[in-house]
Each structure stands twice: as structure tokens, then as C-alpha cells.
């Protein structure tokens, strides 16, 4: 197990060491380490209130950690503003969708291109060649990304008028527009029906396979997590209680206890539902 | 199609309706305009000017109908804002039936407006603009019957220093063109005399004067010159006297209103001010006008009302003499302008004889020094403490 870890560490694009955050007395995240190998799909799971979103918000600069370091390809991101973190190469989606309501699908994605555009204020004023090329490349990229997430036809529709599943995929496309090295998905499957979850699984895989973007996933849908992730880290009450390959984590006693409570860990429930589709039928 | 038909229909109705309104009536119309703030915090003073002008026009309507003219009054509200003032001035210039104007209250409004009206020779007689710049520009259409800052200020200051023997004077102003102009002129005059100016500052405060009163006490001043209006000086004096400071407070014609007594209450004692308008007690005609004004507008007549009335009288007499000079036919605006500039009027005026010098300032004016003290009936009232004749420097 540790061999896998060390190999991964060498090639890891994102390495988080001893990240800690306290709110008043509450220890939300307690010295959590996370190594994310390049072009991999990893997940961070744990019951509600385990500190997953806080952990995400620290990586993306929304909260400043009390201790620990976050390195993206060797560069420490702690203390950077969220827009600087995005520019450095980490994009994210949100637990509750935060699309720009009054903008069309394409415009939402164009905003994602903002950090990559070189044309400045004066270029926009004088419509210089640099500006026109920028806009052209942005629209082109938006078209590609819309196609990538299968929303080509809805390009000019307002983001709020899209069905829920499409809005989720649009948010992912918008995050991809920032040319990230790593994309953080915060419960993308929340509220999705089985068919939409299958499409999402295919999309996440193609993000990694075709775009070479590393994916870090927070998700409660165990079937999705188990089939997609190459590596899983489990948080409970802000501390890491387990990590490893999916099948290892699934049978780990501490994980079951965290999810199902003490009795379950002792195996009462384990026997009846030890079906193939994973442990935590919470 | 339905939408289009409707819009042409309404436009047609609009134009038909117009015919009824626009028809010319029998006697040729002569209009005299007034311009003063009818909205905002200084609308109380603006209304005095507007109403007094209307009253004067109503009194002289018969003289015009006798000559076959219909004298009308139109009031403009400049909201004490230069932009609105110039916009109104353009409207007045465009309405050829308006031959002359009474106004305005704020120097900041009359300066740009008079420049707009100068090319079309619409004469202006101002009851209240005391800023020297107003007439120093030498416009042919700009006249005023009130005293300039640089004559009213020294008149008050001279009384303060020589008659009341003030040695340490605290100078205040209300940060308006009127108040600061007056205070600066008074301060300059007092510096030439033996008085020392302990402090000179402005304040736009209208309610809590405690910090200024604290400074006045600390400065051990023995007199105050406050360039401002009664709406501010009233409460200031009330709080001053309540804080135990009984030194005299001297100011200009901005104090001249019965509201000064009601606002200052017992604190009005020993307030002095200079004004060209006579106190109601001194001139019987003023008392008559005051009762007629009160009847018509349910408001007491104040100093600005008297000045407005006299300004309107000057305008009316100017128009009348222009008509006579033009063989009882409708005079041109230029004729009215020269007639008004050449006014030599003494009868029927409350503020004494009026004639203008080359730039439109009043050649000489009798200024009253008014003091607030207990009258015979034991009530605090205005009484004349002295008079000063003020000559204008230019001829």
C-alpha cells in the first residue's frame, strides 16, 4: 500500500500536507494530508459535517488554513486569493450550483476563460487584434467545451432555464474553461437520477482521459465513487481515518463505523447487505 | 396595424386640443416673471419674493389695462440650483411676452442666469443677491435694490465696533455665498478698526451648536458677527443665551423675519442686523402691506418680501415708462432694460428712493440697524437702533 503511495507522491500534481482549520473551538479540519497523482481520479468521502467542503474551500483559497501547506506542481498556494488559485490551475464546482443566472450557457463559460485571456482594458476599448483573437479563441473554446459536455444546442439558452443535470454539466464545463491542472468537483451527482449519474461518470472519465485533467471528487454516491476513483481518502470529524484503493477502503472497519455507527461496524448490518455495490447504503 | 392606427389617432387629438389653448386673446399680454427657490430648504425665502411680486403686479394691473395691456405674472422655481436657473432663463428668453424679471435669492443662480438673459435684454431687478460679482460684471440687464456685501458688511461691523465698542469679535458664516460674502466683508472692515478677530469659521450646522458655543466661551469674545439666515441664527442665539452667553450677535438682512423671534425665543435679545427694508413699526405703508400679505398668503411678511415688493415696483414703473416713451405701444425688451436701469423712483417705495448707477447697483440706500429688545408691551420685538446711509463706490 505504502509503495503505491510513494510512487504516486513522486508524480503527484497536488500535494497537501498537515492542513488544519479551526472555527472558534471547532476543529473542522485536523492536519489532513492528501497526495493527488497526475491525471488521476481521486475521491474524498465522509459523512456529513466531516469537513470535506471546508477542506475543499481551503485548497481553493476561500478560507485561509491555520496550518499546513498546499503545493500544486511544487508551488505553495496557501494565502493566495481564490482567483489566483484558479489562475495557478485549480478549478472547482460548488455543492449548490452557482451559475450566473442572467447569462447564457456560452457566456457562463466565457467568464471561465477570463484568467486565460491576455487582452486588457485598452485592447477591449480599441478592439485591437489581440482582443479580437482573444475573443475568437474564447468563443471557440466555449464551443468545444459545450460540445464536450453535450450542451452544444443549448449554447444561447439562459443557464437558469436548463434542466438540473445540464446545469451541473455546464458548471463543470465552466470550470474546465479555466484550463485547470486539477478540477475539484463538490458533490456533482447530488440530486441526479441514475441515468444522469451514468452520463456524469462517463463525463468525469473523459475529463481525465481526453483532457488529462486530474479530478478530485467529493461525493456521497458510493457506487459512483467506488467505480470511478483510483484512490479514496475518508474524513470523519475533520481527521483522515482511512485512505487507499476503493476495495481496501470499503472493507475498513473504521470507515463503516464512521458511516453506519458502532453497531454496523460490529457486523450486524454488514452480513445482509454485503452485495457487490459497496458498503455504505446509508 | 392596430397599434399604429392608435398612435396616429392620439397624435391627431393632441394637435386638435392644442388649437383651443394656443389662440391669442384680445389685449396684448405683458408678463413679468419671478425666479426664486420654491422647493428645498430655502423655499421659505423664495416664496416671500414670489408672493410679494405677485402682490405688486395685482396692485398695478389696472394701470396696464387702462393702456390696453394685460399684465400677467409667471413664477419660476430655480430650486436654488444653477442648472435649473439657466434652463428657466432660456425659457424666459424664449417667451417674448416676458419683458422683465424679479429674482433671484441665490447669487450662484443669478450669475449664470443673468448671462443667459443678457443677449435678449431681459432686465433683472434682484431683491436679495448681495454678492459683489453679480453687478461687477457690468451687465446692462442686471440691477439690484439690496446692498452689496462690501457695503452691508462694513455698515454692521462699524456699528458693532464703534457704537457697541466690541474689542474681541468671533466671526461666523453659514458657508453660503450670501453668508460668507457678508462675513468676509465685515471681517475685513473690522481688521482695519481696533477690533481683533478671535476666530473666523463657517458651519452648515442647523441644530447642535454646542461645540461652537464652547469655543466662543473659551475665546472670551465680546461680540459675534454671524453672516447667515434667521433659520440658523435663531436656534444658534437661543442655545447661546441658554449657555449663559449674552454678548451681542450682529448680522445682515438674512435675519429679517418674524420667524427669527419665534425660533430664538428669549435668546433673541440683543440680536442686531442691518437691512434696507424698514421695520413694520417704522413705516406705516409696510404695516399695510404686511396685513395684506398675511391675508393673501396666511404667512407673515418678512424682509425679503418687502425687498421683493419694491423690486417688482421698480420693474413695473420701468415697463410703464417704457410704454409711455414708446407712444403707448408694446415696448421692446431693450427699451424696458434701459428704462429700468434709468429708474429714478421715490414715491410708493418702502425701502426709500431707488436709482441705479452704471452697473446696476443702488447709488445710495438708507440702511436700518435693527435691534431686538423688549418693546413697550414687554415682548421682544424689532426696534430701530440707528440708520446708516450707504453709498455705492462706482457712479
Amino acid at each position: 500500500m505504502s509503495a503505491l503511495l510513494s510512487k504516486a507522491a513522486a508524480g503527484s500534481v497536488l500535494s497537501v500536507k498537515a492542513l488544519t482549520k479551526t472555527f472558534g473551538g471547532l476543529l473542522a479540519v485536523n492536519a489532513v494530508d492528501l497526495e493527488v497523482p497526475r491525471a488521476s481520479i481521486v475521491s474524498v468521502i465522509g459523512p456529513n459535517g466531516a469537513g470535506k467542503t471546508t477542506f475543499f474551500n481551503m485548497i481553493t483559497g476561500i478560507y485561509e488554513p491555520d496550518a499546513g501547506s498546499i503545493e500544486l506542481d511544487g508551488r505553495d498556494l496557501v494565502g493566495l486569493r481564490p482567483d489566483q488559485v484558479t489562475k495557478a490551475g485549480i478549478a472547482r464546482t460548488f455543492q449548490n450550483i452557482r451559475l450566473f443566472a442572467s447569462m447564457t450557457a456560452e457566456e457562463n463559460i466565457l467568464v471561465g476563460r477570463h484568467p486565460r485571456l491576455k487582452a486588457g482594458y485598452v485592447d477591449a476599448l480599441l478592439r485591437t487584434r489581440k482582443f479580437r483573437e482573444d475573443e475568437e479563441s474564447a468563443h471557440e473554446a466555449a464551443g468545444v467545451l459545450l460540445d464536450f459536455v453535450g450542451l452544444k444546442r443549448q449554447a444561447q439558452e439562459l443557464s437558469t432555464s436548463l434542466p438540473y443535470g445540464d446545469q451541473r454539466r455546464l458548471e463543470i464545463a465552466r470550470a474546465l474553461a479555466t484550463n485547470p491542472k486539477v478540477i475539484l468537483l463538490d458533490e456533482p451527482a447530488a440530486g441526479m437520477n441514475p441515468r444522469e449519474t451514468e452520463n456524469l461518470k462517463a463525463l468525469i472519465r473523459s475529463v481525465r482521459d481526453e483532457l488529462g485533467v486530474t479530478v478530485v471528487l467529493i461525493e456521497h454516491d458510493m457506487r459512483l465513487v467506488m467505480t470511478l476513483s483510483e484512490y479514496i481518502t475518508v474524513l470523519d470529524y475533520g481527521t483522515k481515518i482511512a485512505e487507499g484503493l476503493p476495495h481496501v477502503v470499503r472493507s475498513d472497519a473504521k470507515v463503516m463505523e464512521a458511516y453506519l455507527g458502532r453497531g454496523a461496524a460490529a457486523g450486524e448490518y454488514g452480513k445482509q447487505q454485503s452485495g457487490t455495490d459497496g458498503v455504505a447504503h446509508v | 396595424m392596430k397599434k399604429l392606427g392608435l398612435s396616429t389617432l392620439t397624435l391627431g387629438a393632441l394637435s386638435l386640443g392644442v388649437l383651443a389653448l394656443g389662440s391669442a386673446n384680445a389685449a396684448t399680454v405683458i408678463k413679468i416673471a419671478s425666479m426664486s427657490p420654491l422647493t428645498g430648504s430655502s423655499s421659505d425665502l423664495g416664496l416671500q419674493i414670489r408672493n410679494a411680486t405677485e402682490l405688486a403686479i395685482r396692485d398695478n394691473k389696472s394701470a396696464f389695462t387702462a393702456l390696453g395691456f394685460d399684465l400677467q405674472f409667471v413664477a419660476y422655481d430655480d430650486q436654488a440650483d444653477p442648472t435649473t436657473g439657466t434652463a428657466n432663463a432660456r425659457r424666459i428668453a424664449a417667451d417674448n411676452s416676458i419683458l422683465a424679471m424679479v429674482g433671484t435669492l441665490n447669487s450662484g443662480v443669478v450669475i449664470p442666469s443673468s448671462e443667459v438673459l443678457a443677449p435678449s435684454h431681459v432686465a433683472i431687478v434682484s431683491p436679495a443677491n448681495t454678492n459683489p460679482k453679480v453687478t461687477d460684471r457690468g451687465l446692462a440687464n442686471m440691477n439690484r435694490i439690496c446692498a452689496r456685501d462690501d457695503s452691508q458688511g462694513p455698515a454692521g461691523a462699524d456699528y458693532l465696533v464703534s457704537t457697541l465698542k466690541a474689542k474681541r469679535v468671533y466671526v461666523l458664516n453659514d458657508k453660503t455665498p450670501y453668508g460668507q460674502g457678508l462675513a468676509d466683508a465685515a471681517e475685513a472692515f473690522m481688521k482695519t478698526k481696533s477690533a481683533t478677530i478671535v476666530a473666523s469659521e463657517g458651519t452648515e450646522e442647523k441644530s447642535d451648536f454646542s461645540s461652537i458655543i464652547g469655543k466662543i466661551k473659551a475665546s472670551k469674545a465680546d461680540a459675534i458677527y454671524f453672516g447667515g439666515l434667521y433659520g440658523q441664527v435663531g436656534p444658534f442665539s437661543k442655545q447661546l443665551r441658554e449657555a449663559g452667553v449674552s454678548i451681542p450677535v450682529m448680522g445682515g438682512d438674512g435675519y429679517d423675519s418674524p420667524d427669527l423671534l419665534s425660533l430664538a425665543g428669549a435668546g433673541a435679545k440683543d440680536i442686531y442686523f442691518t437691512t434696507v427694508a424698514p421695520p413694520l413699526t417704522a413705516v406705516p405703508a409696510a404695516r399695510v402691506l404686511s396685513s395684506r400679505y398675511n391675508a393673501a398668503y396666511k404667512k407673515p411678511l418678512a424682509g425679503f418680501g418687502i425687498m421683493g415688493y419694491d423690486s417688482a415696483k421698480v420693474v413695473i414703473s420701468g415697463v410703464l415708462s417704457a410704454i409711455k416713451a414708446n407712444g403707448n405701444k408694446l415696448p421692446t425688451r431693450t427699451q424696458v432694460e434701459t428704462a429700468i436701469r434709468g429708474t429714478k423712483l421715490s414715491a410708493g417705495l418702502l425701502t426709500g428712493a431707488i436709482d441705479f448707477n452704471s452697473v446696476g447697483d443702488r447709488t445710495s440706500a438708507k440702511m436700518y440697524i435693527i435691534q431686538v429688545k423688549n418693546s413697550a408691551a414687554g415682548k421682544l420685538d424689532f426696534s430701530t437702533a440707528g440708520t446708516v446711509t450707504v453709498k455705492s463706490s462706482k457712479q
Binding site: - | G202, T203, K206, S207, S211, A243, D259
Partner: protein, 327 residues
């Protein structure tokens, strides 16, 4: 020298208490609706106009000999009650007509509506008083309030000053009891925290919001009466400046927190008086001649600059808590 300083402190405390009372009206409404109730300055002024009318009618004319007419404290009580009723009702009507339909609109919309209401009220007051031929209202304050009760180091403390402090203390105590220790208070705070969840708990948030506006209006009315008695000169436009200063006090103390509004009011009152009197030191310490430059006209500006500086370094105000940030 000590006369000078005590003068600053006492006057600062008095004007500060007035700002605090008005600021409470802003804080209550802001806590519940996150809305700057720009119209509050006119609701407060209405309290002053009510006081003017009551004292004009009931209390003896200034000239009349002492001892006639109603007991001044009785007239004061009548004025307070009338102001509470009138201003409370006015505030409820304003909320019902101009704010409730905009409850879900973007924040800017009810804010603009509030500015509109404040402009309308200014001219309505002018129309009402104008018909009776009045613009400048001189409040007929009975002797009991203007008489100097005692003097502290050359600063006269008058009847109205004491009444002001007593009424403020009583109101603060009552408000604290109501908001923090009563069922209704809990309901209001719940609606302030989270209107949706409060609704789920069976609280009719509309009624609670109307109640908050009633309380806010009543506070404004009382503030108006006290202001009118201490500074007995009003006109339809004299509500704006104290209104803006009171809101600055509420923000200074930490918008949404009741003790914050009181602390903010007092601090602003003292800062203002200090800046206004600063150039007075020249007379006491001639060496500090350069202080003469800080003239009285910079008094109001100073108060604004203080507000801006505090907001930059402690954005949630002196006593305010950093609001939550759900991401």
C-alpha cells in the same frame, strides 16, 4: 481647560444618545430585512412634527404667565404616546406598501424604494405644514424643559437633557427585555437569523417584520420628540442629516446589534463634538495655533471619515459579528 473638556463630553453624550435612539430604528429594520430604511429619517422627523403640533396646541403660548395650561410633563407624555402611535403606524404602512412586495427582489430594489419613500415624505410634510402657512417650525418648548437643572463645570444641563437620558434608558431597558427576553423577541430574532426556517417553525414572518417596523417607527417617533424639544427648530428637510448620522452610528456600532447602535451613537456624538471644538484649544493653548485650521465646517466631514476608517479596519463595526459566509 476642564470646562472645555466637560463641555465636549456632556454635549457629546447628549447628542450621542439622540443618535443612538434613532440608530436603534435603523438597526431593528436592518436586522430583519437587511435594508437601509432611508425613510427612517423622515419617520423620525414626523415624530418631531407631532411634538411641534402637540406642544403648539396643548402647552400654553410662550407669552402666557406661568402656571396656566397643562402640566408640561403631561403634555410631554401625550406627545410621546401620539408620536409612538403615528410613527409606528406610518412605518408599518411604509413596509406594507413599499417593501413587502419587493421582499424577494435583488437588494438594490427595496433600497431605491426606500429612497423614494423618504423623498415623498419630505414633500408630504411640507404640503401639510404649507397649508397652514408654516415652513420653519419653532417648537413651543415649556419652561420646565429649558430651565437649567444644574451646571457641571460651566456647562448647563437643562430639563430636556435629563428627560432625554431617562427616556433613553427606559427605552433601552424595555427594548432589551422585549428583544432578548420575550417570546416575541425570540420570534423577531429567529426571523432575522433565517426567515425561511423561522417560517417552518410556525412563525408568521410577515407579522414579525411588521412588528419590527412598528417598534422601529416608535423608536424613531420618540427620538423625533426628544430631538424637537432639545433643538426646537424643524423644517420638512431637517430629517436628512441626523438620519444619515444615526445610520452611520448604527454601522459604526455594528449594524444589526442593538448595543452596537447605542455605543456607535455615543462614540459618534463625542467624535463630532470633539472635532467641532478642536480649534477652541487655540484659546487655551496659544501654542497650538495650527489647530485653528480645523474649523467647525469639518465637523460633519470628520464624522464620515471616522465611519469610513472604522469600516475599513473592522468591517462589521465595533460590536458586530462577522456575518456567516456559506459557500
Amino acid at each position: 481647560m476642564e470646562n472645555f473638556v466637560t463641555g465636549i463630553l456632556i454635549n457629546g453624550l447628549l447628542i450621542g444618545t439622540l443618535y443612538a435612539i434613532i440608530a436603534l430604528g435603523y438597526t431593528m429594520v436592518y436586522g430583519v430585512l437587511q435594508l437601509i430604511n432611508f425613510a427612517h429619517s423622515e419617520v423620525f422627523l414626523t415624530g418631531g412634527v407631532v411634538a411641534f403640533e402637540i406642544f403648539r396646541v396643548l402647552s400654553p403660548a410662550p407669552g402666557a404667565e406661568p402656571g396656566t395650561g397643562m402640566n408640561p410633563y403631561l403634555v410631554f407624555a401625550v406627545a410621546l404616546v401620539t408620536a409612538i402611535v403615528v410613527c409606528g403606524a406610518l412605518n408599518i404602512v411604509i413596509e406594507r406598501l413599499a417593501y413587502r412586495p419587493l421582499r424577494n427582489a435583488p437588494k438594490l430594489v427595496p433600497l431605491i424604494s426606500a429612497i423614494g419613500v423618504s423623498l415623498i415624505l419630505q414633500d408630504v410634510i411640507k404640503l401639510l405644514e404649507g397649508f397652514q402657512g408654516r415652513f420653519q417650525l419653532a417648537v413651543n418648548v415649556p419652561g420646565a424643559f429649558t430651565r437649567t437643572v444644574f451646571t457641571v463645570a460651566d456647562t448647563n444641563v437643562k430639563g430636556i437633557d435629563l428627560t432625554l437620558l431617562i427616556v433613553a434608558a427606559v427605552m433601552l431597558f424595555g427594548l432589551n427585555r422585549l428583544v432578548n427576553h420575550s417570546r416575541v423577541g425570540r420570534a423577531i430574532r429567529a426571523v432575522a437569523q433565517d426567515r425561511v426556517t423561522a417560517g417552518l417553525m410556525g412563525i408568521d414572518s410577515n407579522r414579525m417584520i411588521s412588528l419590527t417596523f412598528l417598534i422601529g417607527g416608535a423608536l424613531g417617533g420618540v427620538g423625533g420628540v426628544l430631538f424637537a424639544l432639545k433643538f426646537p427648530n424643524l423644517d420638512p428637510y431637517s430629517g436628512t442629516i441626523p438620519g444619515i448620522k444615526a445610520f452611520s452610528a448604527a454601522v459604526l456600532g455594528g449594524i444589526g446589534s442593538i448595543p452596537g447602535a447605542v455605543l456607535g451613537g455615543l462614540v459618534l456624538g463625542i467624535i463630532e463634538n470633539f472635532l467641532g471644538s478642536l480649534s477652541g484649544l487655540v484659546f487655551i493653548f496659544p501654542k497650538l495655533a495650527f489647530l485653528g485650521a480645523i474649523k467647525a465646517e469639518y465637523k460633519d466631514v470628520g464624522a464620515f471619515i471616522a465611519l469610513i476608517v472604522i469600516l475599513i479596519f473592522k468591517p462589521s463595526g465595533l460590536l458586530g459579528r462577522n456575518a456567516t459566509e456559506k459557500v
